[in-house]
Structure formats: C-alpha cells, structure tokens
C-alpha cells in the first residue's frame, strides 16, 4: 500500500537471494533453512516476534555472521559467506538496532565516514592536501551536504553525535548508510523507540530514499502499521523458521502469522 503518485521504481530482478540458510549459536537455532529473495527497487520487510531471527538474518546478509549452511546470492554471485568489508564494497549498507555511530565525531564526520569507500586517492596526496585529493574531498563533501539537506539535519552538522537525542542519532545513522550510495540498504528497526512524529518522519525518509534514489531496502520493524504502509513484500520469521512470505495483505491474513503473533492454544 504505497503512497500513490511519485515515480515509483519498477520492481525488477532479484538483487539478493538467501538460499536454505541456517545459523546456530551453540545448541540454539537462530535461523533454520530460510530462503527468500529481495528484488531490485522494492522495500522488503522482515518481521516476526522477538527472537525470531530477524537481526541474525541481516547480520548474515552483510557478513557479520557466517551461516553454517546455505548460500547467499548477491548481484548474481553466489557465496557461502560474506565479509563485512566485501559486503560494504559490493554496495550493502546498514543501520543497527541499537545505533552504532562514531560517538566522538561530529555528524558531518560520521556521514563522511560513509564515503570512505568512494575515496581512493593516494594518501600521500591527502597528506599534502593538494591536487587530486582536494578535489576528491570537495566532491564527496558536496554529496554529504546533499544528504544532510535531505535528512534536514543542517543545524546539527557540527555537533558530536554522542550529544544528540536518540531519534536524531538514528537519522544520522541513516545518513551515513546513504552516503555509501548503496544498492541494498538494510535497516534494523529504524523506528524503534521513536514517538509517532519521529516515526512519520523516518517513514517519509525511507520512502523518499526508495523513490528518489531507487535504493532497494530491507527493513526489520515491529510497528505493524509502519510495515503495512511501507513495504512491498513481507517475509515473516518465527523461531528462526520462515512462516510466511508475500504482500502485506496476504501476510496479515495468514493464519500462521496471526497465531505466531497472538499465540495459539496447544
């Protein structure tokens, strides 16, 4: 149920697919035999009750965890595990459930850090602050300023992020991920702990990112209203097992999903 109007990006080919992935911690099965795909240009939600394995799934996709079984196919390349550095290099950016920012650095420096992989000039040039390195710094700075404008955080750009309220920190974190100009953006509970107004702002940003930049987004969210409004397709996990996959309408009508959320008499 996407907002009508606007140049909706055509949802296209499969960008990333997870095939029969399992992950265990000691004896606990965090994820078992889960398969699903994420298509280019869509907003894909991963939902489920607490402990369903949602965050583990994101961690597998960007290489923080390595699955014990199964494969990940990203941009046509199949591998059994990613490394975080490779994932970032390949165009996967993410935010974290409990905000992971560079707390001592300013908003600007945090978002600039997202440009790290876009800057290649030899560091001897950078030491001299001369020639190609200067041009590069200026170009990247320009992109970062655009993101700052987009997220409406101009007035706090020089503030160390440790001082910002939680809602703004989440926005800065999104900014840092956007600075990477990712092909796939992973958002781990982008609206957790926010009030209604902040949630609406964040939802707007997520939709705008998807519309304007055509960025594919996979997000985990607890607020069902938000999920229904934002996402094109939803995959539902429960106790590490996939129990449903489909449009928001299909999923919310699914008896298995209702049981998982509300509990069922045994």
């Amino acid at each position: 149920m996407r907002a009508p109007g606007g140049p909706d990006v055509a949802v296209g080919d499969v960008l990333l697919s997870v095939e029969n992935v399992s992950l265990t911690f000691g004896g606990v099965k965090a994820v078992s035999d889960v398969s699903f795909d994420i298509r280019k240009g869509e907003i894909r939600a991963i939902i489920g009750p607490n402990g369903a394995g949602k965050t583990s799934m994101l961690n597998i996709i960007n290489g923080f965890y390595h699955p014990h079984l199964g494969r990940i196919n990203f941009k046509g390349e199949t591998r059994s595990k990613m490394r975080p550095h490779d994932a970032a290099y390949g165009g996967i950016a993410r935010t974290f459930q409990n905000v992971a920012l560079f707390r001592g650095m300013t908003v600007l420096d945090n978002i600039m850090a997202g440009r790290m992989l876009k800057m290649h000039k030899n560091f001897f040039w950078q030491l001299l602050r001369f020639g190609p390195a200067t041009t590069e710094e200026v170009e990247n700075r320009h992109r970062v300023e655009q993101i700052i404008d987009f997220l409406k955080i101009q007035e706090i750009r020089r503030t160390p992020v440790g001082r910002l309220p939680y809602g703004l920190q989440k926005r800065v974190e999104l900014g840092r991920a956007l600075a990477m100009e990712p092909d796939l953006l992973l958002l781990d509970e982008p609206m957790a702990g926010m009030n209604i107004e902040e949630k609406e702002d964040m939802s707007r940003f997520v939709l705008d990112v998807n519309d304007h930049y055509g960025t594919t987004i996979a997000l985990i969210e607890h607020d069902m209203g938000v999920v229904m409004d934002l996402s094109d397709r939803v995959v539902v996990l429960d106790h590490g097992i996939k129990i449903a996959d489909g449009t928001p309408d299909e999923v919310s009508a699914d008896q298995g999903v209702i049981d998982a959320y509300l509990g069922v008499a045994h």
């Binding site: 974290f96 992971a100 920012l101 950078q126 030491l127 160390p160 309220p165 991920a177």
Partner: protein, 318 residues
C-alpha cells in the same frame, strides 16, 4: 615554620642564585620528557585506533632495539639492519593482528588489554631466546647519530647539552608532527578514529579492521624503534628498559589517552617536573623522589581534569 620555608621559599631562592643550574635541570627534564612523550605516543596510537591500552608497548621498545643491535652484531651493516628491523616490526604488526586481535573482534576492551599482557611475555621470552638477556650497547655511531656535547655559556655559568639529546628531540618532534597530520588530515586517519569509536559501525561502512590494525601496530612499532634507539643511546639496551614504559602511564593520564599533542606536552611536563622536583625538593625527602614524583603530578591533574589536558571531552547523554 622552617619546613614551610624549605618547601616554599628555599628552592626558589636557589633557582634565583644559580640560574645556569636551573637551565641545566630544565634541559635535562626536557630531554627526558621528549623520550617519555615518544613512549606515550606509541600507547596513544594504539589506544586511538582500537581502544586498547597496549601493555606490550614497553617490551616492543626493547624488542625492536634488541633486534637492531642483534642484527648488527651478526654482521649486517647498520642501515641495512635498521631497514630489516622495520621489516620485523611490520611482521610483528601482521602477527599481532592475525593471532591476537582478529580472534578477539568485538570482545570487551579488558580482554584485549589482557591479551597485550600475553603478548608482552611472549616477546620477553622470544627476545631472550634469540638475543640473550645481557645488556647491549646501542650502535649510535654506526647510525650516524651525533655524540659528544655542546657547552653553552649562559647566565653566568655553563649549560651542557648532549648532541644525542638534541637529535632525540628533533626526531621526536618530526615523528609527532607527521603522525598528528596523518591522524587529522587523511582518510586513513578518519578510518582510524572511526574504528576506535565503534568496530561494528566501522565494519558496516566498509573499513577493513585488519588493514587499520596492521597500520597502527606498525606505526607503534616504528615509534617503539625510535624510542629504543634513543633510550638505548643513553643507557644500554636491556630488558630493564621495559620499566620506563610505566612512566608513560602518568604521561597519558596527564595528556589524555587519545591525544597526540597531549602525549608530547604531558611527557614534557612529567620530564621537567621530575627533574626539577628531584633537584630542588629531593633533598627534603632524602632524594630519590624522581621515582614517584611523576605519579603525584598525574594524580593532581586527575583531580581537576579526569580526561587529561587534551583528552577528548567525555560526552554522554544521560
């Protein structure tokens, strides 16, 4: 009354009476301070990039100096030995990253700190096994470091300055300046600070922890080598040198664990404070206060500025 006079008046009267002696003491304090700064710098580098207090920095100083002297003793020409030693420090950085840090990613800082203890004992054992435990003489002449001294006539007396001390001060300043620029002005510097702040976040923007860690440990190794050469030139190269690393602690408390300029200023304050304290106030306590005076200075600073002189402000939203 007499005691108060001895503490608060007499030392200053003495300073006034013999300004050349005061200058000499200040100079010696300055030189000691510069060397403390160098040691502290090694700590700051690693602390900045990984949040780890590297207990092994002291032994890295000894180990690099031993390697240099040992290679020379085996007939390797001095400058070639210097190059090889730099290579050895690089290999050490690689090994530390691969076998100590990588398996401990995302572990609590105290665990990484304990790991550096382990590293210390490995290096001590390894060093003794290869180079033996007896003190050695630093190859200052072969490395074309100056020897002898200048005697400068001033303030109605003489101040003597060892040339090697002047060289140490110059080398330390150059090293500090280039590291400060490296950290503040380059993309790699930004990456280093990012890693120090949050491993997870750094990984997610595509910073390779392996690369960063090898870089800082290598830089710390180079700093250790410079320290080893300079200290070795003043005394001998032996495992006793490791103790001076403990002097870095008050320097770091003073300067802040994350600040390169702080390490310098802190080192100089400690060095000068120590020498002045020993010379003018030492006799009151029967001398030998040099050993603990640095910690008193650090303690006083801690009372007023817990983050150190130049440490990053501790920012926390409550």
């Amino acid at each position: 009354m007499h005691l108060l006079y001895q503490i608060f008046i007499d030392p200053f009267v003495q300073m006034g009476h013999a300004p050349d002696l005061l200058m000499q003491t200040l100079w010696e304090g300055l030189v000691a301070g510069v060397l403390y700064s160098l040691i502290a710098l090694g700590f700051v580098l690693i602390f900045k990039a990984s949040g780890v207090f590297n207990f092994a920095q002291g032994i890295m100083v000894v180990f690099s100096a031993l390697t240099l002297v040992g290679l020379y003793a085996h007939g390797v020409p001095a400058f070639f030995a210097l190059g090889l030693t730099i290579g050895v420090m690089f290999l050490l950085a690689l090994a530390v990253e691969r076998f100590v840090l990588r398996p401990l990613v995302n572990q609590a800082e105290i665990i990484l700190f304990m790991a550096t203890f382990g590293l210390t004992y490995i290096l001590i054992g390894f060093g003794e096994l290869i180079f033996g435990g007896d003190p050695k003489v630093m190859i200052t002449d072969q490395l074309l470091l100056p020897s002898g001294s200048y005697t400068i006539k001033m303030l109605g007396g003489f101040v003597q300055m060892q040339k090697i001390d002047i060289a140490a001060a110059v080398i330390a300043s150059l090293m500090v300046a280039s590291l400060a620029v490296f950290f503040q002005k380059t993309r790699i510097g930004r990456a280093l600070r990012a890693v120090a702040d949050s491993h997870r976040a750094a990984l997610s923007v595509g910073i390779s922890l392996e690369y960063i860690w090898v870089t800082v440990w290598f830089a710390a190794g180079i700093v250790a080598l410079a320290t080893g050469i300079m200290w070795g030139a003043r005394s001998n190269v032996s495992f006793a040198l490791e103790i001076i690393a403990l002097k870095a602690l008050p320097v770091l408390i003073l300067g802040g664990f994350t600040s390169i300029p702080g390490a310098i200023v802190g080192g100089i304050i400690i060095g000068v404070g120590e020498k002045i304290g020993e010379f003018y106030w030492g006799p009151l306590f029967g001398s030998g206060i040099e050993e603990w005076f640095a910690y008193v200075i650090a303690l006083v600073f801690l009372l007023f500025r817990p983050q150190g002189l130049f440490g990053e402000r501790i920012i926390e939203r409550i």
